[in-house]
């Protein structure tokens, strides 16, 4: 039996914040993969009486399909041995039923099944080196169910830095547009602007946003301005996606605020904000500066963030931010991968464990929660763990419970090492509890809006039919971990809590316009310094047409 092309989800309590629906009982009608106003009688139904209905989850920042992820997978056989994932019992002909392994960096098929099993239907990989983009596409081809896209790393790109140095902002914009289209990417990602280039060049003191890179005129500020303006001028649906300088360093709140102020008046997204919201005590120790950051965010409507919450347990730090990963390796002694990626970026990987009894882990956990609980606009402060950096995406349900259930949160707060928590807002007591509607915002409606995905994150007519139905459960984490039904593109992929279908997902990509004449110079650059010919660089034969811009 093939999946019905029509479906009616009957009687659920709908949370569709993008359309102002907050807990109304209504049917959701689906036809050919889209939400429609009505379906004919006799349409197959899903009984959602008493259940909670939301759009499918949208992950704005994750690491799931990339050359870097695969370096991480190869590094972690011990995790994969400990978390076998047998093939799901899919209906016959309902997609590839493949086994795999889990851990913090699951194999591709398992990644798709597990995301869908949580009710997430759209996932963005947040860091792809352009030269490795074709691997991301190949991995997404083996990551079923979820629609996938990725952000291309540009903040340390040699050609781009040259344009910044020369003040050639138009050329930088054309280059960025070409790279997005040539790689099949979706947005511009900046990681530690200039800092990776500095690390690769042996410069280890790039800490301020006005410091120059070597003998050039390039500063982190100039890189940020150039790329932020490029993204906005190109009309990209998602603005620049920024991982600030000085990640994970005590006192980095100054850099973070300086960066935000540098881009004042421009649309920009700042990612895994938790890792950038640390103060410094007089003795040089760690403290929370979440209040300063969130105050700025609350007051500046053009700024958005995802939190990058830390969850206790095993994690793997994986980032283009090579110098940060080196420092983590040097301090923890854990195993370490570093790959310097020619002309473009870096890549670092270090396994990490966040322990309740570790003071810094506890502080990081608290900083993330403070950002959530002090946020005045859930549309602009959305949920992420920077999977698998702050914790696996499988910990989202527990995070949702931390946000919705003060008792649960306070009980955990009592268990953690409180050495660095004195005077934090969280330790002083934050009573806020997220509502189901706010959860719907921070996990789907908000990320979709920030990503400019007009067909995602809501249940209005014309939207993609990605729907998650949760059975109510007093234990919130369990409720969000095991949706009763998940519909992806109109197909019922989870039925009665069981994964039953695994259709391939779509690729979400863009092809912005640029001045073709600018490519002559890019080609010269490739010919002089690249080891992959310009003509072999662009990814060809991509499935799914690029999305329209504007």
């Amino acid at each position: 039996m093939s999946a019905p092309t029509r479906l009616r989800i009957v009687g659920g309590v709908v949370h569709d914040p993008a359309n102002g629906v907050d807990g109304a009982v209504r049917d959701i009608c689906i036809e050919d993969g889209r939400i429609v106003a009505e379906v004919p009688p006799g349409t197959p139904t899903v009984n959602a009486h008493g259940m909670v209905v939301m759009p499918g989850g949208v992950d704005i920042h994750s690491h799931v399909a990339s050359s870097a992820c695969n370096h991480g997978r190869r590094l972690l056989p011990e995790e994969h041995m400990a978390d076998p994932a047998p093939a799901p019992a899919l209906l016959p002909g309902a997609g590839p039923s493949r086994s795999g392994t889990g851990g913090t960096l699951p194999s591709t098929f398992t990644t798709g099944y597990r995301y869908a099993g949580l009710g997430y239907t759209t996932v963005f990989d947040a860091a792809v080196a352009p030269i490795t983009a074709r691997q991301t596409h190949a991995e997404f081809d083996d990551t079923p169910i979820v629609d996938g896209g990725f952000f291309v790393l540009l903040g340390n790109d040699e050609y781009l830095l040259r344009q910044v140095d020369a003040g050639e902002r138009d050329r930088a914009r054309d280059y960025a547009a070409w790279v997005i289209g040539a790689t099949g990417g979706y947005a511009i990602k900046v990681v530690n602007p200039g800092g990776i280039q500095a690390w690769k060049s042996g410069q280890r003191d790039l800490t301020g946003i006005d410091q120059t890179l070597g003998s050039s005129r390039v500063t982190p500020r100039a890189i940020l301005e150039t790329l932020t303006d490029a993204a906005n001028a190109l009309g990209l649906p998602h603005p620049i996606h920024i991982h600030c300088n000085n990640l994970g360093v005590p006192g980095n709140v100054e850099t973070t605020l300086e960066t935000m102020e540098a881009l004042d008046g421009r649309r920009a997204h700042f990612t895994h904000m938790q890792f950038h919201s640390y103060g410094k005590t007089a003795e040089g120790g760690w403290s929370s500066a979440a209040d300063q950051i969130i105050e700025y965010v609350n007051g500046n409507p053009l700024v958005s963030v995802d939190v990058g919450q830390v969850m206790f347990g095993p994690a793997t730090t994986i980032s283009a931010d090579g110098p940060v990963e080196y420092l983590l390796h040097a301090s923890s002694g854990r195993k370490w991968v570093n790959i310097d990626v020619e002309l473009e970026t870096g890549c670092g990987i270090v396994p990490h464990t966040y322990a309740e009894r570790a003071a810094v882990s506890a502080l990081q956990w608290a900083v993330g929660l403070e950002l959530f609980l002090l946020s005045e606009d859930p549309w602009r402060v959305v949920l992420s763990t920077d999977h698998p950096n702050g914790g696996s995406f499988l910990s989202y349900p527990a995070l949702i419970q931390l946000l919705m259930d003060r008792g649960y949160r306070d009980a955990q707060l009592k268990r953690v090492n409180a050495r660095l928590l004195a005077g934090t807002a969280l330790a002083d007591g934050l009573s806020r509890e997220y509502t189901l509607n706010e959860i719907a915002i921070v996990t789907r409606a908000g990320p979709a809006r920030l990503l400019g995905l007009r067909h995602k994150g809501h249940l209005g007519v014309g939207a993609d039919a990605d729907v998650t139905v949760y059975a109510r459960d007093p234990e919130i984490a369990r409720m969000f971990a095991t949706p009763r039904y998940v519909v992806k593109g109109g197909q019922l992929v989870v039925e009665e809590g069981q994964l039953r279908r695994a259709p391939g997902g779509r690729r979400l990509r863009l092809s912005p316009g640029y001045d073709a004449a600018a490519l002559r110079d890019v080609r010269r650059h490739f010919e002089a310094y690249g080891t992959v010919a310009f003509d072999n660089f662009a990814v060809r034969g991509l499935r799914d047409a690029p999305l329209e811009i504007g």
Binding site: S67, C69, N70, H71, R73, R74, L75, L76, P77, H80, M81, P84, A85, P86, A87, P96, R98, S99, G100, T101, L105, P106, S107, T108, F109, I131, T132, R134, Q135, A138, D142, E158, W199, K200, S201, G202, Y326, H329, A330, K335, W336, V337, N338, I339, D340, V341, E342, L343, I349, V350, A528, Y529, G530, T531, V532, A533, D535, N536, V539, R540
Partner: protein, 429 residues
């Protein structure tokens, strides 16, 4: 000279920017001249590259029990053999397939609960296992070209098995961050026993095999401010070398990831990895691991993303299990397999595997399957990745590249494996 655009066929029948999988260098500047569907010239190709492309002719036979037949019949026989086998199955990911074909072959292994392994299991396991214990400090080849002001060849002269490595990635300086001129890149050649480094070098050092690990460890101990002294050997040279390493801006340590030495001592690779990592405290450094061609790095990448493990995967319990110490005689010694599928070139089968499969009914789907140097039950010749089949392929440094189809060949390996997959599915396997 103006080069024709990629994939274009000008009147002179030239195809430009073709990627060569003759070794892991994956040079992508090959200019092929094609006449009457034959490759008549491979410009820029080294001798290994010229041999890789040949004239582009490969056999197109389909055989069951040595008898020519139609593909359908062969696929049916293969499906019956693999799907109906009582007992363990073995799936080998050989060379010369695109990643699309490798993905399907691994999918078949998953569905059949087989043991799946690839060429690297024989040639490079020590390095992979050491990397899993420690990680690694590495770089893509362009980074070495653009930055490395000190290149140290450790018991390898790339000119023999990776002929263009030096000229494309580490030779005469043309790097973005290097001053021009022959003196701005220092070359150090280390020979270990019979494994000689390059003859032309600024500094040459010779070690006896039993000194090798000690020397590597000695170098690393010095970075930590310790000396080992009596046990290390060649102390004066090592002092000089340690100084040069720490004074360089960016060190590239080049070693052979597929050498016979790997098998002799698992410790040497781990010591090399550890040294390259440790050099990142005083300066910057990367280990450049030379790997073979034929897209075996692609097989490792695909295995890793589909299973979480780079080689030696056993699906018998319904999920991938990593069995890196159950290879070769350990794997084949105790209980024979019931049947095997070799996907890819049968010539790439390591001797141990070939021995292990002797007497078994074997299905081979891949380039020159019909010329397998061992008895084959079902042989289906396919095209070769990057010559007859386009798709994804990998360079030795895990950079993914777009392989082209330059001349028509026999049936596609991807399509053939997909049809095999569908037939197995029809049989309920």
């Amino acid at each position: 000279m103006s080069t024709p655009a990629r994939g274009s066929r000008s009147r002179s029948d030239q195809v430009a920017h073709v990627i060569c999988l003759g070794c892991g260098c994956a040079c992508d500047d090959i200019l092929l001249t094609v006449r009457d569907e034959l490759i008549v010239q491979a410009e820029h190709a080294c001798p290994l590259g010229a041999a890789w492309f040949g004239d582009g002719r490969v056999p197109g036979a389909v055989r069951v029990h040595g008898r020519d037949c139609e593909v359908d019949e062969a696929l049916e026989a293969a499906a019956a053999l693999l799907g109906g086998a009582r007992g363990r199955l073995f799936v080998f990911l050989g060379d010369e397939l695109t990643c699309a074909a490798q993905r399907l072959a691994l999918g078949i292994a998953d569905r059949l609960g087989a043991v799946a392994d690839g060429v690297v299991s024989e040639t490079a396991p020590a390095g992979i296992l050491a990397g899993q214990r420690r990680g690694r400090a590495a770089a893509t080849l362009g980074e070495i070209r653009n930055r490395a002001d000190l290149v140290i060849y450790w018991a390898i002269d790339p000119d023999q098995r990776y002929p263009r490595y030096r000229s494309r990635y580490a030779g005469y300086p043309s790097g973005l961050h290097l001053r021009r001129g022959p003196r701005c890149r220092t070359v150090i050649s280390v020979s270990v026993g019979a494994d000689a480094g390059p003859a032309e070098a600024d500094l040459r050092l010779a070690l006896r095999p039993e000194q090798e690990v000690g020397a590597l460890v000695e170098l690393r101990a010095r970075l930590a401010g310790r000396t080992v002294g009596e046990a290390g050997g060649a102390t004066a040279e090592l002092t000089d070398l340690a100084g040069r390493l720490t004074r360089a801006k960016y060190v590239a340590i080049v070693h052979d990831g597929e050498s016979s030495l790997e098998r002799r001592s698992p410790d040497r690779t781990e010591a090399l990895i550890a040294l390259a990592q440790a050099l990142n405290a005083p300066t910057r450094a990367a280990l450049s691991t030379l790997r073979g061609g034929g897209n075996r790095s692609g097989a490792e990448a695909v295995m890793t993303w589909q299973t979480g493990f780079p080689f030696a995967v056993d699906f018998a319990r319904g999920f991938p299990r990593y069995q890196p110490d159950r290879r070769g005689d350990e794997l084949f010694g105790h209980r024979p397999f019931a049947a095997a599928l070799v996907a890819g070139s049968p010539a790439s089968l390591p001797e141990q595997v070939r021995r292990g499969l002797s007497g078994l009914p074997v299905v081979v789907v891949g380039p020159r399957a019909s010329e397998a140097p061992f008895p084959v039950r079902v042989a289906i010749d396919t095209g070769t990745a990057g010559i007859h089949e386009a798709g994804l392929g990998y360079r030795m440094d895990d950079v993914p590249l777009p392989l082209q189809a330059v001349v028509p060949g026999p049936r596609s390996a991807t399509e053939t494996l997909e049809r095999l997959w569908l037939r197995l599915e029809e049989r309920g396997r």
